[in-house]
């Protein structure tokens, strides 16, 4: 998790992990499944420190490296969309900064015995920004929009939604969420918040949702100008007493990194995300503080296993590639020594990923001798040529590709790097029109999001590796998805990862640090694992 995280001491009014598990056990094992993305590292470290007194007020100006394009609550694909709208909306549940599940607009919930429905008790007295009180009809409307997002949202995001059937409103503050089948992904999806905000019923008929927002979040959106900025004012009726801490927030779109660096130096903005080189350049500035932390956006090498026979269709070749890649060298060369090894579930994603020790000493250990032996066993001692597609920007993708190219020469694989503009890359990637790809993965609401694509029913499987077969993997994925008890779920996903780490239809590479630089007056900001700017809405205050 992030280097700058605060200690995991329960704050007043919050549940400790122990209390959460006990109370969740009383209302059904499904609540425990929701806590399945708990931060193990965070829970292990408890230290005390003097908490500075929060100063209320002020406006923060934060630079976004990408334009949100629109701020509609549903159907938005870009992460930047959530950056723009996150401060305005809440979901039924939420994560804390260590990805522990917390009540939000729902104060408690009960899983039905057949686990095909969940009854939520809504928080009373919560007001939307337009003054309307939250009730069951709003939740029903919101879930309907999750399942069928109107424009400007894209219907393709429905594939991210767990098997919701719909909502029954049992009373003003009690709703029942019906599911197609048992589904362990529900709480993670809701807590993630990206596709699951709760809005007032009839919102799409009331305002232009592409340019404005009405939610229950700590900040009230004043307006959004595309390619320019989003403006927020404090929500004085926010349901968390004592918050928000600031009067106002401006999110300014500044895609050029040098412009963000210049603006930080000049004090024109209070914070922004920068590259590792940018952070290095700014660390000596006495007015600025560099924050860094791991996120879910790890780098991955993807293979297509389809069509005419190719050398890497042989699992031994893929294993050879795995052992021939020196991930530490990538971290040192491209990322200034900052980063972690990553499997297909990124480090820091709760208790789910394989440990660094396992990856470094066994599954991803750099071993050229072993790699050459595997190539020989596969009859590929002489090697082969392959095209590796990647993004033309940001530059680190091409840099990583170059390192891989030079490393794979040792086992006679001639890599031709094909750098593509992001739109072209995404189009080719989506259709499986590539040999090898170097890309970045992203956050998921549930661990199934990283493994579900290896199931033959998934479109990605069908387009990328229809020739890959492992019944044990498929069985594990299927079982994991419907097992709500995390104690039972954990070994299932561990087994699946070990099998996939052997078969390697995709190759996890490295998890890179994200750097955010803030003016020293900004307090409480942290690099969020989910790649959002969650600290801005939850914990940031200004010391001057």
């Amino acid at each position: 998790m992030s280097d700058n995280e605060a200690p995991d001491t329960p704050r007043k009014g919050e549940l400790s992990r122990r209390d959460l598990l006990v109370k969740a056990g009383a209302v059904g094992v499904g609540a425990i499944a929701a806590g399945s993305v708990a931060g193990g590292a965070g829970a292990a470290t408890r230290r005390s420190f003097a908490t500075p007194k929060i100063r209320y007020g002020g406006r923060i100006i934060w630079a976004l490296e990408q334009d949100p394009v629109h701020v509609a609550p549903y159907g938005a694909i870009l992460t930047a969309n959530h950056w723009g709208k996150q401060a305005a909306y809440d979901s039924l549940v939420e994560w804390d900064k260590d990805l522990n599940l917390k009540p939000a607009l729902a104060t408690s919930w009960t899983i039905a015995p057949d686990q095909k429905s969940i009854t939520f008790n809504l928080r009373k007295g919560v007001k939307f920004h337009n003054g309307k009180e939250l009730d069951g009809d709003d939740v029903k409307y919101s879930v309907e929009k999750m399942l069928n997002p109107p424009l400007p949202g894209s219907i393709t995001t429905v594939s991210q939604v767990p098997g919701f059937l719909g909502v029954d409103v049992l009373s003003k503050y009690v709703v029942r969420l019906n599911l197609k089948t048992r589904d362990a992904r529900v709480f993670g999806f809701l807590a993630w918040g990206r596709y699951s905000p709760i809005v007032p019923a009839g919102l799409y008929d009331q305002i232009n949702v592409a340019r404005n927002a009405i939610g229950t979040g700590p900040y009230r959106m004043v307006g959004f100008n595309p390619n320019d900025r989003v403006e927020y004012l404090a929500n004085q009726s926010f349901w968390k007493k004592g918050q928000p801490y600031m009067d106002a927030m401006t999110l300014k779109t500044l895609p050029d990194e040098q412009a963000r660096i210049a603006a930080l130096r000049a004090g024109a903005i209070d914070g922004a995300t920068v590259s590792s080189d940018g952070a290095n350049a700014l660390k000596s500035d006495g007015n600025l503080v560099v924050l860094k932390g791991g996120t879910a956006a790890f780098r991955e090498l993807q293979f297509t296993i389809k069509g005419d026979p190719k050398p890497w269709h042989d699992v031994r070749v893929r294993q050879a590639v795995n052992f021939a890649i020196n991930r530490q060298a990538i971290i040192d060369t491209v990322y200034n020594g900052n980063g972690n090894y990553s499997g297909i579930v990124p480090p820091g994603y709760g208790p789910w990923p394989l440990t660094q020790a396992e990856l470094k000493t066994k599954h991803q250990k750099f071993d050229l001798t072993k790699a050459k032996a595997l190539m020989a066993a596969a009859g590929q001692s002489k090697g082969f040529s392959v095209k590796l597609s990647t993004f033309s920007t940001p530059l680190d993708f091409q840099q990583v590709a170059s390192v891989i190219k030079s490393q794979l020469k040792a086992i006679n694989i001639d890599v031709e790097i094909v750098a593509q503009e992001p739109g072209t890359f995404a189009a080719n990637n989506g259709t499986g029109n590539f040999e090898w790809d170097l890309t970045a993965r992203g956050m998921r609401g549930d661990v199934d999001g990283y493994l579900g694509e290896y199931n033959p029913s998934n479109t990605i499987y069908q387009r990328w590796y229809p020739l890959y077969k492992n019944v044990k993997v498929w069985r594990a994925i299927g079982n994991g998805k419907i097992t709500l008890d995390p104690a039972k779920r954990s070994p299932i996903y561990k087994q699946a990862q070990l099998l996939l780490q052997n078969d390697l239809p995709q190759l996890g590479l490295v998890q890179v640090n994200k750097y955010q630089v803030v003016n020293k007056r900004v307090q409480g900001m942290y690099v969020a694992f989910d790649d959002f700017n969650t600290g801005l809405r939850n914990s940031v205050w200004l010391s001057s």
């Binding site: 870009l78 393709t156 594939s159 412009a259 210049a262 989506g430 479109t459």
Partner: protein, 316 residues
């Protein structure tokens, strides 16, 4: 004159029509449409959902059908809606246009106000140190990419003065000082190339004009040097400069995109670049048509200006 203008306007229509066809099909040659670009693999790409998304966005049907739907709206003043945020394209461009207009105007103003006198000085004091300095400066000016200069200016002012231009656009009529503070650096960045061109063009034509018989005659008649330069020589030297400036209006309207992105100005160029990356076809098509229209109109104005500067041309 009126007939000439009318004829030029009528020629514009088939030109714009041809541009609309070219840009419509060219942008669709890019791999993937907006659904493919946004869907990718990370979001999951169920074929049924993708097909539904395309239908929702009006991307179903053959290309001629899509073109007909779009152009039918254009002739009625409807440029369509952005595929990304459903905002009317006309609204997108109306918001962006004043920003780019101001940037280009200020850039050209700096280029002409500085370049013109430099060119004159360089021609009048030929082979002097002023001339050499101006010529070297001109060479540097045409060599420097405007986006590189923009970044350099930002880094310089932030490091040395602890200042960067204001980040929020304020119209000139609301706060002239704030507005000009925001535009001065980007305007300088885009002006340098044109400034160098203007300076070199003025120098070259002034040298040619100053060697003409009528200038020698004027000098022989005792006309003061300043009057000879300003009234006799400069006016004729301006004609190619007007040509350059006219071309630069069209070029800068689209060519200042990177500078707009660097300075966070939500102008037409910035909007167009983002639309291309995101395969937002209506915005790309609308913005390109707009820029083409401006380019054509600017050149029409240049041609008319010729007639003012040189009565022989208007008589022809």
């Amino acid at each position: 004159m009126g007939g000439y203008v009318l004829k030029r306007i009528l020629v514009t229509i088939p030109t714009l029509f041809g541009i609309s066809v070219v840009i419509f099909f060219m942008v669709r040659l890019l791999p993937g449409d907006i659904v493919a670009v946004l869907s990718g693999a990370d979001i999951g790409n169920d074929p049924e959902l993708v097909a539904q998304a395309r239908e929702n966005l009006g991307l179903n049907g053959s290309y001629p059908e899509q073109y007909w739907r779009w152009i039918s709206g254009v002739v009625q003043g409807d440029l369509g809606d952005s595929l990304r945020n459903t905002q009317p394209v006309s609204e997108v461009l109306l918001n962006a246009l004043p920003i780019t207009f101001e940037l280009v105007f200020l850039g050209l103003l700096i280029a002409v106000v500085v370049g013109l006198p430099l060119g004159v000085l360089s021609a009048v004091k030929r082979d002097s140190r002023h001339d050499y300095a101006a010529r070297v400066g001109g060479l540097i000016g045409v060599s420097i990419p405007n986006f590189w200069l923009a970044t350099l200016l930002l880094l310089f002012t932030s490091r040395v003065f602890g200042w960067v231009p204001p980040l929020t656009y304020v119209p000139f009529y609301e706060d002239p000082i704030e507005n000009l503070s925001q535009f001065i650096l980007p305007a300088i960045a885009i002006s340098v190339f044109t400034l160098a061109i203007v300076m070199r063009m003025v120098r070259a034509t002034m040298l040619e004009v100053l060697g003409q018989d009528y200038v020698r005659t004027a000098r022989a008649k005792g006309v003061r040097r300043k009057v000879v330069i300003s009234r006799h020589a400069l006016r004729n030297a301006l004609i190619p400069v007007v040509t350059v400036v006219g071309f630069e209006v069209g070029i800068l309207m689209g060519g200042s995109a990177i500078v707009e992105i660097i300075f966070g100005l939500p102008g037409v160029g910035n909007t167009l670049i983002n639309a291309i990356f995101n395969r937002d076809y209506p915005v790309v098509q609308g913005a390109t048509l707009l820029l083409a229209f401006i380019f054509i109109f600017a050149n029409l104005l240049v041609d008319l200006l010729y007639g003012v500067l040189d009565p022989r041309i208007s008589q022809e």
